[in-house]
């Protein structure tokens, strides 16, 4: 199980999570769009994730679930 579960098709690509991640491992996808037509967030380096959940708390749409 991953440290971060992303509800890909719920993400609206607002980018707020990318601004609060202390490890700077979150980016909005550059090459794909989800079912809603947004560029969803992706984790570029899951190993660096410290499960701080800042992204999940910042996300208005409860896209992210965090595990340790």
């Amino acid at each position: 199980m991953e440290k971060v579960k992303i509800l890909d098709d719920v993400c609206k690509g607002c980018g707020l999570c990318t601004t609060v991640c202390p490890k700077k491992i979150m980016v909005l996808s550059k090459d794909r769009i989800n079912a809603k037509g947004y560029s969803p967030v992706e984790i570029i380096d899951m190993d660096a994730c410290i499960s701080c959940a800042a992204c999940a708390k910042m996300c208005p749409d409860a896209v992210l679930s965090i595990y340790k």
Partner: protein, 245 residues
């Protein structure tokens, strides 16, 4: 693996109609988290307003009302008087609460109604397309103040938390912000204190949450957060404005 963060059970968030980056979703989640942590899932009853959050009854899985514009505190009064042991809250925007609903929120607070108002202040009318609100800043451009709000023409914004704090029936009033994680954490604590105030029957409680409306401010979600910090907080200082023992 242990769970560090999962959304609360009573928050139905998969199909919310809010714009990308709109902090309504965050506010909804905090309300649902607090109600769950207080063990009040079965007894929470919410009153949705007219505004972007008119469909809050679809996203918050409690018995809910949808109220006429501005009248949520009166509806909540009726609901709470019938079932005083329920946790009754209103969820209102700045047009709903501070414009058409000004009388209702003042009198609910004055009566010391044991209800909690969750006040989403984003300085604009969202759902109807970006008109001026009672909390719109001087100089702020909206669809009904296209040259920027002119104080000599239509006055100054209302600081609701400060205003209601003057009422003896108001037991707990705090203004918080949703612009970053530390402030979101503070906002959650404020919501918890407000609901606890209701549970302890101390009187009226309100949390004013400074929020963004990127779409009608003409800003991206991240730009909107910045404007909240730079322009809204100086006008609407954060802090506790009323707290009775």
């Amino acid at each position: 693996m242990t769970t560090v963060f999962e959304k609360p059970k009573r928050f139905i968030s998969e199909k919310m109609h809010y714009c990308p980056g709109c902090t309504h979703g965050t506010a909804h989640r905090l309300v649902a988290e607090v109600i769950e942590e207080l063990g009040m899932n079965d007894r929470a009853v919410g009153v949705a307003p007219v505004g972007c959050s008119v469909f809050a009854y679809n996203y918050l899985d409690y018995d809910m009302y949808q109220a006429a514009h501005g009248r949520a505190p009166a509806v909540a009064t009726g609901a709470k008087r019938v079932h005083p042991d329920n946790l009754v809250f209103t969820y209102q925007g700045d047009g709903d609460l501070a414009s058409i609903g000004a009388a209702e929120i003042v009198h609910a607070a004055a009566r010391g109604e044991n209800i909690t108002a969750i006040f989403i202040n984003n300085a604009i009318y969202g759902m109807t397309g970006g008109q001026m609100a009672p909390t719109t800043l001087v100089g702020q451009s909206t669809t009904t103040s296209p040259y920027g709000r002119d104080a000599s023409l239509c006055g100054h914004p209302i600081r609701v938390s400060e205003m209601l704090a003057t009422l003896d029936g108001a037991a707990y009033i705090e203004r918080v912000s949703l612009h970053d994680v530390p402030n979101i954490n503070k906002a959650k604590r404020a919501i918890k204190k407000a609901f606890q105030t209701q549970i302890d029957k101390k009187g009226f409680s309100m949390v004013e949450l400074l929020s963004t409306c990127g779409t009608n401010w003409g800003k991206s979600p991240i730009e909107a957060i910045e404007w909240l910090k730079s322009d809204m907080i100086p006008q609407y200082p954060l802090g506790v404005y009323k707290e009775v023992d």
